[in-house]
Symmetry: C2
Subunit: 236 residues, 2 copies
């Protein structure tokens, strides 16, 4: 029986309500600048475009760039389609910066705090270290380390991210559990030998919208409704 | 005027009393195993041997190895000279593990906590990330990130450590201040464009023993007696 010593957390989606947070910030920004647009549609398109950008980095089709750079390029592409032509540089930075201040799901901070009493806890995110620090300060997370994609110059689900994090934590892969609401992320971690915990986040993509199907019972080591349930399951 | 956004802290010596902590742990270990030895002498020799090992990694004379590996090799070399022949593997691990649990200087935890209210704070150490996490948990530090030498596969004072840390924190070098009790470390950081703060730790090498001379007034951006003075100087 190998004991889990460290928990890694997917951040955008698993801990933070990126969609709700961005829509709120964009609505406020639009009101302040007297701009109306389909903000939920823009947020969904932005997220999708970013995920396609990551795929290009992963395949080597484009060179390494961090999440800020990719989000900036995505927004520059999308803005004209959503009635925001000619965003000047300051406005673009303001929009990209919205990804650095996202609201946590209600259980997330308390759950991580409880788990930190017995385990090493760290985000493992496709965000970069500086972004993870800002997100943690804004939401109130306390971490033992911050595993940003820029440490590895690889994006999840590349194995370098899971294995590199385990190595930096001084753990063998089975001593580390990835906690995520995205089955694809967890499957890649499991292939690297990590333990896996699926967290249900039914509102991540908006009410009633499913992007990845809920995994079958038993597909991951743990399946929980929120991080407080995980803390109880892990003896915290 | 460039504003400092992040503070990096040398850890072994600047935040932690490695010498006092190791002597105490070795004395207790010796008492438990009915072994008498010149523990202060062994600690001083161990530290020196480790520093010489780091130099060999820095010049490329030997390949990368983390602090645990180097400390293990050093102790294996020194043990016979100090009357500890034939240390078995478990005992060697126990001694190396003593570097993962060192007492903080009295002002260190409170000082870092105060500084964290306004700045990004992270250790920048020749220890590895896993070691920094254990040291932080044992001593009670809360960090925003942990900059271990294994992230860069370079030891201080290689520029990769200072510039690599600034990049991961999303800062330009002058936005980052290194806080250290070792002038040689600070001089190297300054050459990379970082700000510098010298902290006096007169007891680091034992009472009355000076390894690096106190720098002249004005040589570094700040010179303080402890981290509470630094917090006040930085507006915390």
């Amino acid at each position: 029986m190998i004991t889990v010593r460290a928990l890694l957390f997917d951040t955008i989606g698993t801990l933070l309500d990126w969609r709700g947070g961005l829509i709120s910030q964009l609505q406020a920004w639009g009101a302040a600048h007297e701009i109306a647009a389909d903000w939920p549609g823009l947020v969904d398109a932005w997220r999708l475009d970013f995920i396609m950008s990551i795929a290009k980095v992963r395949t080597g089709e484009r060179e390494w760039a961090n999440q800020d750079q990719l989000q900036r390029e995505s927004m520059a592409r999308l803005a004209p389609q959503f009635g925001l032509p000619g965003l000047h540089a300051d406005a673009l930075e303001e929009l990209v910066g919205m990804w650095h201040e996202l609201p946590p799901w209600p259980d997330a901070v308390a759950g991580v705090d409880k788990l930190r009493s017995r385990y090493i806890v760290a985000p493992l995110s496709n965000g970069h270290v500086a972004m993870l620090i800002e997100l943690a300060k804004a939401a109130g997370f306390t971490w033992d380390a911050a595993m940003g994609a820029d440490i590895f110059r690889h994006y999840k689900p590349d194995p370098e991210t899971y294995l590199g994090s385990a190595a930096l934590l001084g753990c063998e892969p089975p001593e580390v559990m990835l906690v995520a609401s995205h089955p694809s992320d967890l499957d890649a971690a499991a292939q690297c030998g990590l333990r896996t915990c699926y967290v249900s986040r039914p509102l991540e993509y908006g009410p009633g919208r499913v992007v990845e199907a809920t995994p079958a019972a038993g597909h991951f080591d743990l399946m929980v409704e929120d991080l407080l349930e995980l803390a109880r399951a892990m003896g915290c």
